[in-house]
């Protein structure tokens, strides 16, 4: 790099640029958080949905599945599973695990109560109604 471009200049550009883009990011974030209520089914999820999310988290579902494309890539996308399979199928499926088919990927048995299964389905239904800009491309996730 040329000698007329000094370290002090580089440092000043760093501080100036960083501060500018942090502020821009905060502004966009502010706007986004204002927009989110219009992009989800209801801004404050119902108690069932909230409980379902905790079940989702404390069973570490994200360790195998993706949710809106984020997570592990070992098991199917579940952001749209409510639309793909429906609530009843989801409950039956979870209750039937593990399949114990030799050599197949296995999902643990979580011993959920009926109420917990309802909560989980409520969470997955809520998630399936988020405005995701039409992602995933099709129902297979």
């Amino acid at each position: 790099m040329s000698a007329t471009f000094t370290k002090a200049m580089a440092r000043n550009i760093f501080y100036g640029g960083t501060v500018f883009f942090i502020l821009l990011f905060l502004a966009l974030t502010f706007h986004t958080t204002r927009q989110i209520p219009q992009r989800v089914p209801n801004e404050t999820p119902s108690p069932e949905v909230a409980r379902g999310k905790v079940l989702w988290e404390t069973r570490n579902c994200i360790g195998c599945h993706t949710l809106l494309g984020e997570g592990a890539y070992f098991a199917p996308e579940l952001g749209n599973v409510y639309k793909r399979r429906g609530g009843e199928f989801i409950k039956i499926w979870i209750k039937a695990q593990p399949t114990k088919v030799p050599g197949r990927r296995q999902m643990p048995q979580f011993h959920f109560t009926d109420e917990q299964l309802d909560d989980l389905v409520a969470f997955l239904k809520w998630t399936s109604e988020i405005n995701t800009e039409n992602w995933p491309p099709n129902i297979q996730g």
């Binding site: 790099m1 370290k7 580089a10 440092r11 550009i13 760093f14 640029g17 960083t18 883009f21 942090i22 821009l24 966009l28 706007h31 986004t32 927009q35 989110i36 992009r39 801004e43 404050t44 999820p45 949905v49 909230a50 999310k53 989702w56 988290e57 404390t58 069973r59 570490n60 994200i62 360790g63 195998c64 993706t66 949710l67 809106l68 494309g69 984020e70 997570g71 592990a72 890539y73 070992f74 098991a75 199917p76 996308e77 593990p98 088919v101 050599g103 197949r104 990927r105 296995q106 979580f110 988020i130 405005n131 995701t132 800009e133 992602w135 995933p136 491309p137 099709n138 297979q140 996730g141």
Partner: protein, 470 residues
């Protein structure tokens, strides 16, 4: 005899040893995961996939943090020209962090995750069960305490000593790392908000402040190895980190395309993250430029190789493989496929694994009381460099192939197929990935062995005649 300029630099040694030990654990669990991709019920129900993955990713994060902390303890005294504020605190924190990390992994493996959550008070503040932030609440709090005490120690040292750009950039990176981790405690029941701010930890770490830490470490090693003027090196560092943050902060938007955030993020995220290869490209040019302009021939050839390798592989893994799928119209089809996994592996290895191995390669001989390793140890270390690096490239290539096929069959063709039936068709690529993983592990074994390799007695000195065997 000691080769350390400052006595207190010695605290870095246990950090580097722990980093390498946990690295071995990470790779072993990676091999388990790779097998589970092809033999679905392998080790089930003893170690389900999600548990192995948690161990794999959490060990990665923890050992890189050990590496960063060791790097800081090693380079800050030299940069500030003063002893570390409190070597004792550094020792205490080492054990706190190691024990907390070990207990967490034992917790993952020993009890079901839901039980672990119950035992550790997750209902007080629900933070668990989000990718990479799976740690129980006490562990998360422990990370904060360790980070604060560590920053205090490093900050006090810098405060009383010389303030170089390298140490200031490192400090900014470390402060950013600690501050952004606080978002791990924010977990609203609104999934969109949860995801939005989750990225403030994950993205702003690896495509933000960690790049500062990486640049500082790389700058320090190149300064020492090449003897190039500090002014030149530090000017480069500022250019690199400017590019990193100018592109990387708004570049967070490439994670906001499909998670419920407004559509304009496809433009903001796309444009800025398309520029994210620039800081990594600058790093590549920087590494080669400095080595070409070197004023001395440093005898640690292995460290030079690691430094150059970091420059190349970070650009390839983080830059090129990131760019491949960062534009929204492409990401629409590749989001959450094996393409993402390919990028994740190559980027983490090329940028952060390699930069930590660079500083270990440079510092460890001196921490062990010698200027450089014996010739044979260096040759073995360079073998391990090539074995690990080439096999990681192949891991990424096989996963990329799998990912292209996956996107095609599941998302593009007229009659898209279900997830599992697509997975069944990718088995060949998963097997090849696993074999590449085994080669990686062999490379890692060679790496470990290189620490204990000595020159053969007959090759130590200039070609003397071997005594006849009688």
């Amino acid at each position: 005899m000691t080769h350390l300029q400052y006595k207190s630099q010695a605290v870095a040694k246990p950090y580097f040893i722990a980093a390498i030990a946990l690295f071995v654990g990470q790779v072993l669990f990676g091999l388990i995961l790779g097998l589970q991709y092809v033999i679905g019920d392998f080790l089930f129900p003893a170690i389900p996939f999600n548990v192995a993955r948690m161990v794999h990713t959490n060990l990665l994060i923890v050992w890189l943090l050990f590496g960063f902390m060791g790097a800081a303890y090693y380079l800050v005294p030299e940069e500030t020209e003063t002893e570390l504020h409190s070597p004792l605190l550094a020792h205490v924190l080492f054990w706190v962090f190691l024990i907390a990390g070990a207990l967490t992994v034992v917790g993952y493996l020993a009890v079901p995750y839901a039980t672990l959550a119950e035992m550790t008070g997750n209902d007080l503040l629900e933070t668990m069960g989000r990718e990479f932030l799976e740690q129980p609440l006490p562990t998360k709090l422990g990370i904060v305490v360790v980070a604060l005490a560590f920053l205090y120690n490093i900050g006090m040292t810098i405060l009383k000593g010389r303030k170089t750009a390298i140490s200031m950039i490192l400090l900014m990176g470390l402060v950013g790392l600690a501050v952004l981790f606080l978002f791990a405690f924010y977990n609203p029941s609104n999934l969109v908000k949860d995801k939005y701010f989750w990225w403030w930890v994950v993205h702003l770490w690896v495509e933000g402040v960690w790049e500062l830490i990486m640049a500082a470490i790389l700058g320090f090693v190149l300064l020492r190895i090449t003897g190039v003027d500090r002014e030149v090196i530090e000017k480069w560092l500022y250019v690199i980190i400017t590019l990193a943050l100018v592109t990387g902060i708004i570049g967070t938007g490439h994670h906001y395309y499909w998670i419920g955030a407004p559509g304009y993020w496809q433009w903001w995220g796309g444009i800025f993250s398309a520029l994210e290869p620039l800081p990594f490209f600058a790093m590549t040019v920087f590494c080669f430029n400095m080595v070409n302009r070197r004023r001395r021939q440093h005898p640690n050839k292995a460290a030079t190789l690691w430094a150059l390798g970091t420059g190349v592989m970070a650009f390839l893994g983080a830059g090129v493989w990131g760019f491949l799928h960062t534009l929204a119209p492409i990401n629409y089809y590749t989001h959450g496929t094996q393409i993402t996994a390919a990028h994740g592996h190559l980027a983490f290895y090329g940028a952060y694994v390699m930069v930590v191995l660079t500083i270990i390669s440079y510092a460890m001989p001196m921490l062990r009381g010698r200027e450089v390793n014996p010739e044979r140890a260096q040759v073995l270390e360079m073998w391990s460099f090539w074995l690990m690096t080439v096999s990681m490239v192949f891991i990424a290539l096989f996963l990329t192939a799998a990912g292209i096929l996956q996107a095609w069959l599941q998302r593009i063709i007229p009659n898209p197929q279900a997830f599992m039936s697509v997975q069944d068709q990718l088995v060949l690529f998963y097997w090849m990935r696993w074999i590449a993983g085994v080669v990686f592990f062999i490379g890692l074994a060679v790496y470990l062995y290189s620490f204990f390799a000595k020159d053969k007695p007959e090759t130590v000195q200039t070609g003397e005649v071997q005594p006849a065997a009688t």
